[in-house]
Every structure is written in structure tokens, then in C-alpha cells.
């Protein structure tokens, strides 16, 4: 058994008395660069958070693929399990969704990011969060001077409630029955009327502290990349009729200094774990990172044949 293989290392970081466990994807600095040299070159790091309550590999191991690919491009990538999730110490908070939506994990992520920047001599860190992870990322960023950018995939800005069995059954009925679909359309139409009457103000269940975090970061000019997946009965960035258009609202609120990039990824799903989603997220990340945080990978740098083979494979199917 070894903690350290050519391209990755299993690492632990103590935070608030708990051992957080994660994976470090070493940046490709060329065969001449030792680990120490790689660290001295002050690359930016990417910190991937859990997708909801799932382990750090994410659905279909998509986060492994993105971290592999970006490390190959020269970025130090870290995927960590937050307390109570995956391999990390602690118990999952209960009820977890309320904890996450209240920014409960933010201090831990902030402390983790600071330690990673110091330990690996990084120039700073970009926090990457998906869905509930994006909520945590947004809450953590204002607490973290070392955070230089955010990537939010399919974020949400309202306070969802954990679904009851009845709510799940109702949802199934509207999905699979013609009458249910009609009832659902009518319900959302009435919600649309109510939204119009409110003149585009966030609805009662908006996560206002989260919206304030967004405004603080966007107006300060922090680079933020938002990737949006198609949602049920919606069209590109626009949500379903009757749902509040948070992205449009936030774009309008962000101010002249904002460096927010929003992209819609077609033909994928919420997890981005399918072929199309993986490839598109990777392309968007590489382009956005290249524009905002260019890597310093030496030209012509090569890893061993095994790593090179993995890289070729990544191009075809970014696992």
C-alpha cells in the first residue's frame, strides 16, 4: 500500500479536530520538475467539493475525470470529502439539507482551502461546487481570502425542503399521467401569475444570505463560472414557467465590475456525468481557467507512458 502514486496522492487535512480525507491530483509540470519544484511555481489549485451527499468521486466518477484532466493541464486539483461524507471523519449533519443551505460547511471549506494553499504553496484556490456543493462554495468564498474564483455547476438559490413521500408520489403522478401533467401545468401557470404580480422580486423561499454572498463576490469582481444543465420543462437558461429566474436576476444585480460567466450545457442532465456533460464541463473549465488563471505547464512536458495513455484516454472519455 502506498499513499502516493505517480499522478495522485491520498491526503488528510485536520480541520476543527476532524481528519478530512481527499485526493490530490498532482499538476503536470513536466518530467524535469520534482514535486517541490511544482509547488514552488505557484500554480492555482482547484478544490472540488462533494456533489450533495455523494463521495468526492461524484456520479460516474466525473469529478475524478475533471481533476485528472485539469492536473494534466498544470493545475493542482484536490477533491475532498466534507465532514460526515465519504471517507472523512464525523457524522453527516441532520437534517443535512438545512445545514448546507444555511452555509454550515462554509467555515470547514474555508479552513481547508487555507491549509491547502499553505501546504502546497499555491497562488490561490478556485472552489468548484455542484448543486448543494455550489451553495457551500458560495458561502465559503467570502470567508476565504485565498479563494480567487468560483465554479458553480447547476447552483440553486432557494431553500428546498426535504421531500415527503407524498410529495414524491405526487411528482411521479405528474410525470407519468396525462391528467397529472395538466394539473402540474395549471399549478405552475398560477405560480407564474403570482411571480408577475411580485414584479420579479425573489420569492418567499429565496436563500437571501446566499444571494447576499453572490452580490458581495460578483460586485468585487471575483471570477465566477456558472454552468447550467437543462431542467424539466425549461428552455436553456430560462427556468420552467412559474419558477423564479434566479440567474437572470443575479446577472442583473452583479454590477459593472462583475466577472461572471454563465454557460448553458445542452443535452446533459443535472449530474453532468454523462458523456456530453463531462466533455462540456471540462471544455468550459479549461477555457475559463485559461482566461482567468493560466497554468504554467512547461511546453512539451511529458509524464510516463501510463500517465500519457491516461491523458489520451481522457481526451476521448474524460473519466
Amino acid at each position: 500500500m502506498t499513499r502516493d502514486i505517480e499522478t495522485r496522492e491520498a491526503i488528510e487535512v485536520p480541520v476543527t479536530g476532524l481528519r478530512l480525507r481527499g485526493t490530490y491530483h498532482k499538476p503536470n509540470m513536466g518530467t524535469q520538475a520534482s514535486a517541490g519544484a511544482a509547488e514552488k511555481s505557484k500554480v492555482v489549485g482547484l478544490l472540488f467539493l462533494n456533489h450533495g451527499f455523494l463521495p468526492r468521486a461524484a456520479p460516474g466518477d466525473s469529478a475524478v475525470g475533471w481533476a485528472n484532466a485539469l492536473a494534466e493541464d498544470g493545475y493542482a486539483c484536490f477533491r475532498f470529502d466534507l465532514p460526515g461524507l465519504g471517507d472523512s471523519d464525523g457524522e453527516a449533519p441532520n437534517p443535512m439539507l438545512d445545514f448546507v443551505n444555511g452555509g454550515g460547511y462554509a467555515p470547514v471549506v474555508s479552513a481547508l482551502a487555507k491549509q491547502l494553499v499553505e501546504r502546497f504553496s499555491l497562488s490561490g484556490i478556485v472552489i468548484v461546487g455542484h448543486c448543494a456543493g455550489s451553495v457551500t462554495a458560495l458561502f465559503a468564498a467570502p470567508l476565504t481570502r485565498e479563494c480567487h474564483g468560483l465554479v458553480l455547476t447547476d447552483p440553486y438559490f432557494f431553500l428546498p425542503r426535504e421531500r415527503t413521500r407524498f410529495r414524491n408520489e405526487l411528482s411521479e403522478w405528474t410525470s407519468f399521467s396525462r391528467l397529472g401533467a395538466l394539473a402540474s401545468d395549471l399549478y405552475y401557470f398560477l405560480r407564474h401569475i403570482r411571480l408577475l404580480m411580485r414584479r420579479n422580486r425573489p420569492p418567499w423561499n429565496a436563500n437571501l444570505p446566499l444571494l447576499r454572498c453572490w452580490n458581495q463576490l460578483a460586485s468585487a469582481g471575483m471570477p465566477i463560472l456558472v454552468l447550467k444543465a437543462p431542467a424539466l420543462r425549461s428552455r436553456d437558461f430560462k427556468p420552467r414557467i412559474g419558477e423564479f429566474d434566479y440567474l437572470n436576476y443575479l446577472r442583473a444585480m452583479s454590477g459593472a465590475r462583475s466577472r461572471v460567466t454563465m454557460e448553458f450545457i445542452e443535452n446533459t442532465n443535472h449530474s453532468f456525468a454523462d458523456d456530453r456533460g463531462r466533455a462540456a464541463v471540462r471544455e468550459s473549465l479549461e477555457k475559463w481557467l485559461g482566461a482567468n488563471f493560466p497554468a504554467r505547464r512547461p511546453a512539451g512536458s511529458e509524464r510516463s507512458s501510463q500517465a500519457a495513455r491516461a491523458s489520451t484516454y481522457e481526451a476521448l472519455y474524460p473519466r
Binding site: 502506498t2 481528519r19 463521495p55 456520479p59 410525470s175
Partner: protein, 275 residues
């Protein structure tokens, strides 16, 4: 001794690392204990199911380690934190993973009986190895009759999610997905690319005879075997793809206590003499 075993002692050390296998590295987490009474090799569920069952699976390992039972859990080759390309892997590779890890685990200092413990598809992999002589006892949770049964139930859940996002004629019946695999094409299932070969081979990987019975061999076999059926109440340990946030902190203490008792009995009655 039984009472001593049941008392939790949280001095176990968790060591994550990589174990070299042909063509890659397996990600492993060793829940190391001093002077272990037994060792349990945890063979987890298949690919996408791994993610949903992860929290209770880790809790189970910690529960055992806190009771002086050393555990080793790992990711299949090409899955999770292990290296390798999923679609290049075969059931043969995953059966081999169990054998290689069992050999290493058994060789750790401080002799103790080795229990091979599998969940869902992992139960078939564990049983195949046990049948070939690996381990001193076998504990199966929710074993499918064959690998194909495990794949099929994962596939059906993927189809039901697909259908929730499609309307009318866009919805394809399950037979159409299966036909795609049987015609030699690949199929993306919850982020994993299933190959036609994987599907075809899954019919041949069957649970060895007599191991699907809940009481199989538990009393008469020289090496104890236990097979436990798990139902919907054990979500997200199984059928995890349908799990919601409310299941994260689910209490599995009854299941854990019951199986700990069986492990203790097996260690006490059967296996000590073979160590």
C-alpha cells in the same frame, strides 16, 4: 469475550492508500486495529451503487473497527478512486481484485481469521473467491443470483429516471436499452459506459450454488457462510439510486449488531482453529 467485543473502542486508524494491481491501482482504506480478533474484507456494490451506499458502508467499517475487527474496503478497478478505465475492466479483473487484496490482508501481522464480506454485486465477487478457497468465513448482504441481476436492477432505475425527463414517444421501453447492449453497442448508465461485453459476461457470473439461502451452510460448513436479504428499509445500503437526503443519517444499528454477533460467533466457534 463477546461483551468485550461489543464495546466500542474508537482507537482504530484509517489509512487511505493505493494497492498495485495489474494495469492500475486500487484505492483502499484500511481501518487498522491493534491485535485484531478478525479481519473483514469489504467488497462493496457495483459502480453507481457505490456512491449511494457509501455513507452506511463506511459507518459499518468504523463500527467493526471500533470493536477490534480490522476492515479493509476498496474501490473496484476503474471505479471511484481507483485508477483505470471502467469500460476496459471485466468481471475477471474484479474477481481478481478480491483475491489480491485478501492475500495481502491475510498476510498482515497478527494472525486473525479473514471474513470476506460482499454487498450486492460485491457479494457475488466475494462468494466466487470464497468458493475458490479465499477466506475463513463469508458474509453476504443482498446477494443477487448473478451479476446480471445486479446490472439489470441498476439499469431499470436509470430507465425510470430517463423517463421522468421525457414525454410520450420519447420514452423507450426497457427492452430497447437491453437490445442496445445485446446488439454490441455501449450504454451510458449513471455516468458509467457499460459495454456489450460487460452485459454478456454478467450472465456467466453467478452466485455459487447454495449461497443464496439465508441459512446456507451456517451451521454445517467448515467455513461459516451467512447470506442476508436486504429490503427497501435498508436503503441506501441497497437500491441506493433512489435515495433522498432523508436517508443519509439512517440508523442501521440493528443490522450492524446482528451481523457483528454472527461475526463474533463465527470467529469463536469456527475459524480460530484454522488460523
Amino acid at each position: 469475550m463477546v461483551e468485550t467485543l461489543r464495546q466500542a473502542d474508537n482507537r482504530a486508524i484509517e489509512e487511505a492508500g493505493y494497492f498495485e494491481v495489474p494495469g492500475g491501482h486500487l484505492y483502499t482504506v484500511l481501518h487498522a486495529v491493534e491485535d485484531p480478533l478478525a479481519r473483514v474484507l469489504l467488497v462493496g456494490p457495483f459502480a453507481s451503487e457505490r456512491h449511494y451506499s457509501y455513507i452506511p458502508w463506511v459507518r459499518w467499517a468504523r463500527f467493526l473497527a471500533a470493536r477490534r475487527i480490522e476492515c479493509l474496503r476498496y474501490d473496484y478497478r476503474g471505479v471511484g478512486e481507483s485508477t483505470g478505465a471502467f469500460e476496459e475492466m471485466s468481471f475477471g479483473d474484479w474477481v481478481e481484485d478480491v483475491r489480491l487484496l485478501a492475500d495481502w490482508f491475510k498476510s498482515r501481522s497478527g494472525p486473525a481469521p479473514l471474513i470476506v464480506h460482499g454487498l450486492e454485486l460485491g457479494a457475488v465477487l466475494a462468494a466466487k473467491n470464497f468458493d475458490a478457497g479465499v477466506g475463513d468465513a463469508l458474509l453476504l448482504w443482498a446477494p443477487p443470483a448473478s451479476a446480471n441481476h445486479a446490472l439489470r436492477s441498476t439499469l431499470l432505475r436509470r430507465i425510470s429516471v430517463d423517463q421522468a425527463f421525457r414525454y410520450g414517444d420519447e420514452r423507450r421501453p426497457a427492452s430497447s436499452y437491453i437490445a442496445q447492449l445485446e446488439s454490441g453497442e455501449t450504454l451510458e448508465v449513471e455516468g458509467y459506459r457499460w459495454t456489450a461485453r460487460l452485459w454478456r459476461d454478467s450472465f456467466d457470473l453467478e452466485l455459487p450454488q447454495g449461497m443464496d439461502d439465508e441459512h446456507a451452510g451456517s451451521l454445517n460448513s467448515e467455513r461459516p457462510i451467512r447470506s442476508v436479504k436486504l429490503g427497501r428499509q435498508e436503503t441506501p445500503l441497497i437500491k441506493g439510486s433512489s435515495v433522498g437526503w432523508e436517508a443519509i443519517s439512517k440508523d442501521f444499528s440493528d443490522l450492524f449488531e446482528d451481523n457483528l454477533e454472527w461475526i463474533i460467533d463465527s470467529v469463536s466457534v469456527h475459524a480460530w482453529g484454522n488460523v
